[in-house]
């Protein structure tokens, strides 16, 4: 049975400032005269969105800024009404939309717990049974009778999260709230979300830019772009698709601005090109898992450089540095005169699992290892499962395949 059913949901907003009374009056006159009225430009935040969610599903909603994620959640939480289409939600909805909405700075932590709980629909009695747990989870026992305005930002966010996740509802709506507090607390929040989701079998809608988190928590992911559902399916497929799309966007952005983001250079050298090629030197945009490839770097040296070291690295599109390799041990480059060069680095048995990755490059010169050039996100490429080196289901997750083999169980005598 579907708990949430969204059919052809469209939401339009009017662009520009609010109409003035004068405009309204003019429009009324025009309407009376039978002339067309002045209309403000309209903007579709959601465009013909349809999907349905079954009980117990954990849905991730991802998309770039302005894709309509929050607008969608607002509709599900009944905060706003659609321009057309319909939504049916069966069961109670607890919004986690922005932790700590409705906190009052002048009230103490304890008072705010009561206030926030009753805003979320808990009775005083229910709050009483939960308050100890909330205080304990937020780790604010000492400060609970101090006004919130004296709290650090981390403290109030912790309290907000503790309150928000203590609400019992059939459907939880989470908008970008998991990244709160220090690392230890983030871990705790994450565990709590996982408990809510996995053990209590709640239906959860999760909006986040942290794709790794989404693909870990969710059973299904919906990708929105400019108000439309672009993809709706298993997390891995949809998240990879999202990575690709963002990469393309990043690429066009950086090409358009010509000023590369994440590039530092002293102008002593220009990077003309960097790409991957197969062993025969042909440029490729997709790499077969565990095949041999070369990183090719074309450079123009403007000033003479000595003691040059190159380093190439592979990182994910969200800048998790996976591996690097330096040239210093393989070849000592004493002098590099003005001119253009092609530098190659062979990568044997490419170790990363299928997905989208990117290259980074660093160049240092001199005995002091002065940084001459550094850039990341320079070349995006795909890793695909190869014909002979297929990826077995046992190594599907993560970034690298382990060279491992399980053995048959043996009995041990104590």
């Amino acid at each position: 049975m579907a708990v949430i059913e969204v059919k052809k949901l469209t939401k339009e907003y009017q662009l520009g400032a609010l109409t003035t009374i004068k405009d309204n009056a003019m429009n009324t006159i025009r309407r009376l005269q039978g002339k067309p009225t002045l209309k403000r430009k309209r903007f579709k935040a959601l465009d013909d969105v349809s999907f349905s969610i079954e009980k117990g599903e954990v849905i991730g909603i991802i998309g770039t800024n302005g894709a309509g994620k929050s607008t969608l959640l607002k509709h599900l939480a009944k905060i706003t009404t659609p321009t057309s289409g319909c939504i049916s939600v069966s069961g109670t909805v607890a919004p986690l939309i922005e932790v700590g909405a409705g906190f009052v700075p002048d009230l103490t932590g304890r008072e705010n717990i009561y206030l926030n709980c009753s805003i979320m629909g808990l009775s005083r009695k229910e709050t009483k049974t939960k308050i100890d747990e909330i205080i304990e989870f937020s780790e604010l026992k000492e400060f609970i009778d101090t006004p919130i305005k004296r709290y650090s930002s981390g403290m109030s966010v912790r309290l907000g999260f503790a309150v928000a996740t203590s609400i019992d509802a059939d459907i939880l709506i989470v908008d970008e709230v998991l990244a709160v507090g220090d690392l230890a607390f983030q871990r705790k929040c994450f565990d709590r979300m996982e408990t809510l989701i996995k053990r209590q079998g709640k239906t959860v809608l999760l909006v986040s830019h942290n794709i790794r988190q989404v693909s870990r928590l969710c059973t299904r992911v919906i990708l929105l772009d400019s108000g439309r559902v672009v993809a709706d399916g298993p997390p891995k497929t949809v998240c990879d698709m999202f990575y690709e799309r963002s990469d393309r966007k990043i690429k066009t952005n950086s090409e358009a601005t010509s000023l590369k983001i994440g590039v530092e250079s002293t102008n002593e050298l220009d990077l003309m090109d960097i790409y991957l090629s197969d062993i025969n030197g042909h440029r490729i945009s997709a790499v077969e898992y565990q095949s041999d490839v070369k990183v090719c770097i074309k450079l123009k040296i403007n000033n003479h450089l000595n003691h040059v070291t190159f380093g190439v690295g592979v990182h994910t599109t969200d800048f998790l540095y996976l591996a690097t390799h330096n040239s210093e041990e393989d070849c000592a480059i004493e002098d590099l005169n003005q001119g253009q060069y092609l530098i190659k680095c062979n990568l044997y048995s490419f170790p990363f699992l299928p997905g989208v990755y990117s290259l980074r490059l660093g160049v240092t010169a001199g005995l002091s290892l002065r940084k001459v050039y550094y850039g990341e996100g320079l070349y995006n490429f795909h890793v695909v499962a190869g014909a002979k080196t297929g990826v077995s289901s046992s190594t599907r997750e993560g970034f690298i395949g382990l060279n491992a083999k399980w053995q048959e169980p043996t009995t041990i005598s104590l």
């Binding site: 907003y13 009374i21 905060i79 706003t80 409705g102 206030l115």
Partner: protein, 272 residues
């Protein structure tokens, strides 16, 4: 309409908690705390008493300070419920954009807050009456009914006003000013008996006198204040003839005001 009341019953606890929040926030860091709630009627009473000593307003056999205080109580309750109610929706922008519950809660919360302040005023009133040696009669049992009726009057304004205020903030600015002027069109500084005397008996406005009186009585507060004073000092039950024009006005306007609010409500989060 039935579902509305059912809804409100479900949310009664939230209304109380939000009202408590308003009061707590307002008086938390104030040394005098809730005493400030009665400062306004007390000061106005003193000023009016001073003015009265120059211009001479006939208050019959009831001491003027008590009479004017008893008029100020429902008036201030009405005025502040309405003007705070009008601003209440906009004041809770953060909540409106995040969480759904029936939005009419906000004007109601503003009113509940004022209800508590009205309760405190009763303590002062009791003190004043004791000072002048006045004994209330059983007719004070009418007071809750009169106050409930005052709430309807305030809601008529605050529901419509708060919805308009979301679109045009002029409402929130204008209404308090208009209402404070309106006080002089209500029998606050002078008793209603004076108006009756002038218009109905002396026919001071000639042929227009009776019409003018009816128009005057269309203001629900005219009837309310008179009934309030009557129940307190004259051992009277509310006079239906005095209250009728105002009641008709509210009976027509309140549903309209509520409907407008409910229609506008769906766009609050988008526009606010």
């Amino acid at each position: 309409m039935v579902s509305t009341f059912k809804n409100l019953f479900t949310y009664r606890e939230l209304i109380l908690v939000l009202a408590w929040k308003n009061i707590a926030v307002r008086y938390k860091q104030a040394y005098m705390g809730l005493a400030w709630a009665v400062m306004k009627p007390l000061m106005l009473m003193l000023i009016f008493t001073l003015v009265k000593s120059f211009v001479g307003i006939d208050s019959g056999d009831i001491p003027y300070p008590v009479l004017v205080f008893a008029a100020l109580m429902p008036w201030i309750f009405f005025q502040e419920s309405a003007s705070e109610g009008v601003n209440s929706v906009v004041a809770h922008t953060a909540l409106i954009k995040k969480i759904y519950f029936p939005r009419e809660i906000f004007p109601l919360v503003a009113m509940t807050t004022k209800l508590l302040e009205l309760g405190i005023s009763f303590i002062i009133l009791a003190g004043l009456m004791a000072w002048y040696g006045m004994m209330p009669s059983l007719s004070i049992l009418w007071l809750p009914v009169i106050i409930a009726y005052t709430m309807l009057a305030a809601l008529t304004i605050s529901l419509f006003g708060s919805a308009v205020n979301v679109y045009y903030r002029d409402m929130g600015q204008a209404l308090p000013v208009v209402l404070s002027l309106f006080m002089y069109a209500s029998p606050v500084i002078y008793p209603l008996t004076l108006v009756k005397q002038k218009l109905l008996i002396e026919q001071a406005a000639g042929d227009w006198s009776n019409t003018l009186y009816t128009i005057y009585m269309l203001n629900p507060l005219a009837g309310i204040i008179d009934a309030f004073q009557g129940a307190l000092f004259r051992a009277e039950s509310p006079d239906i003839n005095t209250l009728l024009p105002g009641m008709i006005a509210i009976l027509i306007l309140l549903p309209l005001s509520y409907l407008y609010f409910k229609r506008a409500e769906t766009y609050f989060a988008d526009v606010i």
